[in-house]
């Protein structure tokens, strides 16, 4: 916790003075500060755990692995660092960044502060897919839990998009604005439907043990993360970041709604389609690996708006960074909070996130 919070506050301190300045130096600060913060968070995530590992052995293992150096390191330590904690910390960072970015985009496009990455039925669909594989035995062993979850998420998203499209061809002023409302309502309907299917499958077919396991997975679970997962998560997060940065001005243009964006020269339908589909893919990839980790995608964007303002040139990188650092911190906490037991990370994100966000809200209201 301390690692995550300390990193977040130092990010704040760096961002605050640059808020009104538009000059190049502030951008340069970000360029070296961001990777440094991220590196520190990953190091902390690797060092802290049931057995603490000193920083120099982490560096030695890294040097051995990356540059073929030959430091003498304890083999068990090396195994824990490389195969277990480092990959886990990296994937936590990717998921945090990806989910936070998806939240930024959906909140900006739909003009709704309650929008989050799971709005489009993605987490509900992913859980249905996961229980279909785990409990119903869909695919007869050829499908992994992750693949099932990904397929479920994709299916649910497709259904929500179809529904939104059918409902969105209404009348009256501001068709683009109406479409945003249709997407939200379709997302809620789709989520409810898939949640009900999941509950039905669990109630009908799952043993108590299976039900508990699925419950745990639904709340988010980073144990068992391997480098294969990082190989998927890292490109997904980076692609999400690149797309958000490319469309940052278009996201800004939605400040006063979709019609206003159109009058500023944004091809609203195309931009909205590309961004929502991209963020749905990123979210589905993350959820299929680690389950539905709530709270990050909803709250990190709001917290960052308070700290760096709502212009996406700053908001996008700040949210990606804060999401990454936050989730690494939450993962560390989930491992050490209750000795001998790993808590679902979704529980930890909400437990620290809710009070932290309340603080930001209160401070924001005073300023």
């Amino acid at each position: 916790m301390t690692g995550a919070l300390r990193s977040m506050t130092s990010a704040t301190a760096a961002a605050a003075p640059t808020r009104s300045a538009r000059s190049a130096p502030s951008a340069w600060h970000w360029c070296w500060l961001t990777p440094l913060l991220l590196l520190l968070a990953v190091m902390a995530g690797t060092a802290i755990g049931e057995t603490s590992i000193p920083l120099d052995s982490i560096l030695e293992v890294l040097a051995n692995r990356l540059w073929g150096a030959e430091f003498p390191v304890d083999r068990i330590d090396a195994g824990i660092i490389w195969s277990y904690r480092l990959s886990r910390a990296l994937l936590a960072a990717c998921c945090g960044a990806g989910l936070a970015l998806a939240g930024v985009v959906l909140q900006a496009l739909l003009r709704n502060p309650l929008a989050d990455p799971f709005l489009m039925g993605i987490s509900a669909g992913a859980s249905t897919g996961a229980v279909s594989v785990a409990i119903l035995g869909l695919g007869a062993g050829t499908l992994t839990l992750s693949l099932g979850a990904f397929a479920g998420a994709g299916l649910a998203f497709g259904l929500v998009v179809l529904l939104a499209h059918a409902a969105g061809s209404g009348t009256g002023g501001g068709r683009a604005t109406q479409a945003a409302g249709a997407i939200i309502l379709a997302g809620i309907a789709g989520s409810q439907l898939f949640n009900a299917v999941t509950a039905l499958i669990i109630a009908k077919s799952a043993s108590a043990e299976q039900a508990r396991g699925i419950m745990f997975w639904l709340m988010g679970n980073l144990s068992g993360v391997r480098w294969d997962d990082v190989a998927l998560g890292l490109p997904a997060a980076l692609a999400g970041l690149a797309i958000c940065l490319w469309y940052r001005r278009a996201l800004d243009a939605f400040t006063f709604g979709a019609d206003s964006a159109a009058s500023l020269g944004i091809p609203v339908r195309r931009v909205r389609g590309v961004l929502i589909a991209a963020m749905a893919l990123v979210t589905a990839a993350m959820v299929s690996m680690v389950g539905a980790i709530g709270f990050v995608g909803l709250v990190i964007p709001h917290a960052m708006r308070f700290l760096v303002g709502s212009r996406h040139t700053r908001l996008v990188p700040a949210s990606a960074l804060a999401g990454a650092v936050f989730l690494i911190g939450a993962d560390v906490l989930s491992r050490i909070l209750v000795p001998g037991q790993v808590l679902p990370i979704g529980v930890v994100t909400a437990l620290i996130g809710a009070p932290a966000f309340a603080l930001i809200l209160i401070r924001g209201a005073r300023s």
Partner: protein, 254 residues
């Protein structure tokens, strides 16, 4: 910019929002659009601004069909001020105005000092420079509307379309915004509720049930007969020797 509409039509669920509307606004002219609620003023403005494609007919910007223009091309020529566009975001007035530069920027053509200068100029034009650093939610209704107009000005448009920009404003802000709009050297189409204020436009178009029933100089268009037929009010025209134009005195609804 010369803005023309040819036989615009728009029907939704059998209801005619626009019905064979044709008009031309000359370069530099100020055209006022008046009409009762639901007569199609907003729909017409949206079609003229290129936000909606007409189902029938076409819009020409300087003789070029708008259908063939790309969205950012249209936005570089035509700015649109909506009725009461609002946001929950924490942004400063200057940042809201800076959005007006969007059509000129791309990921490869970043913000420049020239854009800064244009934004400052637009803020100064609407007397909002002293409040440039204020957050949006601390601004009054009139200040917000002036920021919206400044955002439109930052687009450096050849045509400015405004949808009832003085709604919900106190009389002082109404007059200052209208004076600002009249002074602009660009083509202006402005939807207005206040018929007296419409009297100051170069020409007035009257909308009724989606049709443009009359267009011409204010004195010819806003006759007592027209007020009775389209607006359902009984009124008198009183001469105001100081302004050199008649003033409307409304008596009662019919």
């Amino acid at each position: 910019m010369r803005l023309s509409a040819e036989h615009l039509g728009w029907r939704v669920h059998g209801q005619r929002l626009l019905d064979d509307v044709s008009l031309t606004v000359e370069s530099g002219e100020t055209l006022g659009l008046v009409g009762p609620n639901g007569s199609g003023k907003t729909t017409l403005l949206r079609v003229l601004a290129g936000l909606r494609r007409p189902k029938v007919g076409r819009v020409l910007a300087d003789g070029r069909p708008m259908r063939d223009m790309r969205r950012h091309e249209i936005a570089r020529a035509i700015a649109f001020v909506e009725q009461q566009a609002d946001t929950l975001d924490r942004l400063e007035a200057r940042q809201a105005v800076a959005l007006g530069r969007t059509p000129f920027l791309s990921p490869l053509r970043p913000w420049s000092e020239r854009d800064d200068a244009i934004v400052t100029r637009a803020l100064a034009d609407v007397d909002m420079l002293p409040l440039a650093d204020r957050l949006w939610h601390t601004l009054s209704g009139g200040e917000r509307q002036r920021v919206h107009i400044a955002r439109a000005l930052a687009q450096q448009p050849s045509a400015l379309l405004l949808d009832e920009p003085t709604n919900h404003l106190d009389i002082r802000h109404q007059l200052s915004i209208l004076r600002l709009v009249r002074r602009l050297p660009v083509t202006v189409v402005i939807a207005l509720h206040d018929l007296d204020q419409a009297m100051d436009c170069d020409r007035i178009g009257v909308m009724e049930g989606g049709r443009l029933v009359d267009i011409g100089p204010p004195r010819q268009v806003l006759t007592l007969e027209r007020l009775r037929r389209t607006f359902g009010v009984h009124a008198d025209l009183l001469d105001d020797p100081e302004q050199g134009r008649p003033v409307l005195r409304f008596r009662h609804a019919l």
